[in-house]
Symmetry: D3
Subunit: 134 residues, 6 copies
Amino acid sequence: MSPLTSGSEKGRKELRAVLGDKGEELFAELRSAFPDLARLYVEYPYGEIYSRPHLDLKSRELIAIGIMAAQGTARTQLITHMHGALNVGCSREQILEVVLMSSVFAGFPAALNAWGAAKEAFEEHDNPEKGETR
Amino acid sequence: MSPLTSGSEKGRKELRAVLGDKGEELFAELRSAFPDLARLYVEYPYGEIYSRPHLDLKSRELIAIGIMAAQGTARTQLITHMHGALNVGCSREQILEVVLMSSVFAGFPAALNAWGAAKEAFEEHDNPEKGETR
Amino acid sequence: MSPLTSGSEKGRKELRAVLGDKGEELFAELRSAFPDLARLYVEYPYGEIYSRPHLDLKSRELIAIGIMAAQGTARTQLITHMHGALNVGCSREQILEVVLMSSVFAGFPAALNAWGAAKEAFEEHDNPEKGETR
Amino acid sequence: MSPLTSGSEKGRKELRAVLGDKGEELFAELRSAFPDLARLYVEYPYGEIYSRPHLDLKSRELIAIGIMAAQGTARTQLITHMHGALNVGCSREQILEVVLMSSVFAGFPAALNAWGAAKEAFEEHDNPEKGETR
Amino acid sequence: MSPLTSGSEKGRKELRAVLGDKGEELFAELRSAFPDLARLYVEYPYGEIYSRPHLDLKSRELIAIGIMAAQGTARTQLITHMHGALNVGCSREQILEVVLMSSVFAGFPAALNAWGAAKEAFEEHDNPEKGETR
Amino acid sequence: MSPLTSGSEKGRKELRAVLGDKGEELFAELRSAFPDLARLYVEYPYGEIYSRPHLDLKSRELIAIGIMAAQGTARTQLITHMHGALNVGCSREQILEVVLMSSVFAGFPAALNAWGAAKEAFEEHDNPEKGETR
């Protein structure tokens, strides 16, 4: 396994701050199976982008949720970042507002699916021992 | 032309708060050409969603920009909402952070195109008399 | 729970006409879990759009199926509206024609997935007691 | 230039029935520049799909418009098929209903852009000598 | 069941060359359930496109994987074509490179999901008796 | 302007190898207007991904073209990478094969638009003095 660079350490710290234990599990799983993607995943999104100034983590997570709710192709990551939003201090009401925003910009099926993801994220958050690793 | 309902008035007020003169122009153009869409456009996105609690207009505009930057199919509306973000008090640095976020969640072509939209929005904002109505 | 407005009642009636029992179940589930989305969902798509003139419900359902077959991000809703199409009088042959249309405008993977959705919808329609609520 | 097969002739006839002169122009342009794509374009969408039973051309064109309005990536083809819809007997009101449907399933930016396409198609239809070949 | 045309036979041969047993199973399933789609599926993608010159099957499969990794809406077909890529001689390293390419052009959620698909395809390839028919 | 890191230099070299003068112009434009995006653009896609082993630049460019032809949201970048494909030794026939592949996986409107992009790229390549900077 290639040694982690300083960029990786910065990214892992940010990843942990945003996604908490779920981020650690995802990184560990990626690192054993496809270490190059694990390194790039922590270095670029977290080491380079999430660690930047001008937007706090709460704003970044709400934007991430909005994007993935609209795309409709990243349900697992959407749920993970709903956990991330709760981790960094967003309220459930704020997450649900983003779900409603997605109906405006991407239509009702997108919003209904994002609501389903929120329901699953909230249930996992209330019962973390039942939550599956993603 | 059908009379505007109270829902329409609420939406128009919100539309003006977010998009300013551009919102007024868009509404006027729609109202003369396709009044049903004009009514639905102010009533649903603005009268129903943007006027809700839990997220301020700055957050809503950054989320809208993130979604449309990632979609890549709504350049005109992306530029309009970049104006909206500036209107409601977002900084250019914050808008550019959302552009960078879009590279993480939707790839570099999306981010490059969103940067092009931001450049156009910022130039129009500095020279409003030259900006074209959208 | 907030009282339903007259717009909601109009939308519920239209929702029931299109989606039948599945629509009722979806509305009930939404109403207990996220009542604002339940209200908006019946008022906008059904109260405002589906209830309009110029297109009958059969045409609306075939268009909805075409859109969601092409998007590929709303499998649950695609199946629900295939039931809706059958409810309002479309034939299975017509639904399968829309599946074939999606190959032209969105490619073969979209059409293959839409065919899978149709197969599931038709089996549920033939054995409604086995169909899961969606 | 490779000789056209019988499948091509069937497709060209169907293409002409749907898209009229615009279809002829598009085919001629493709045939001189990229004859294999010209052949496949008339044989598959038109020779194989549009010529099938169960859905009339009016329904096919409204479905095509719905799909492309929702996709937001095929403005030229969307305008072309709005002409096609008018050619085969759809009303402008029906085309605008599909535009409104797209707001439900793909969001308001999609619907606003589809309305812009409809406006352009209708103006060209009223002033065919000014319409540009697409 | 309608007799297969010569175009169908050419396509089936190509389908078998690319997708092997999985292609045969998919064709058989389609042929019994929706024979028109079965015919079109072998004739157009395989009979017309995959059988063309200028690109070998290895290149075609890597391009197909890149497209579907970026789309994020065709997981089953993505896995099937990862098997196809291995069948025609691509290495696992090459498939994983395409996964990394998708992060550049479609973002990290797309790449993470494509990696999940690759993991599943590789495990099935190592344990074919456990692999489910797709 | 922040000094370029070693990762940036590696990326710029790769960018030049793929996109030639167009890459240089794009980088120079980005660097003066939004230097952080310029740095990330050369470091991640080119410094990290394009410079990796297992796929040669010809394969990478054909995959990039396939992805962007299917997405339909990155016309400028699609044309740029069609130049890139020619720069690294792909033939026009190979680029046009990818255009045809896009009809299978993303539908005919995507393929028609990708053909339009190819036509523009090839004309610019034949008359570079007329080509506009993108």
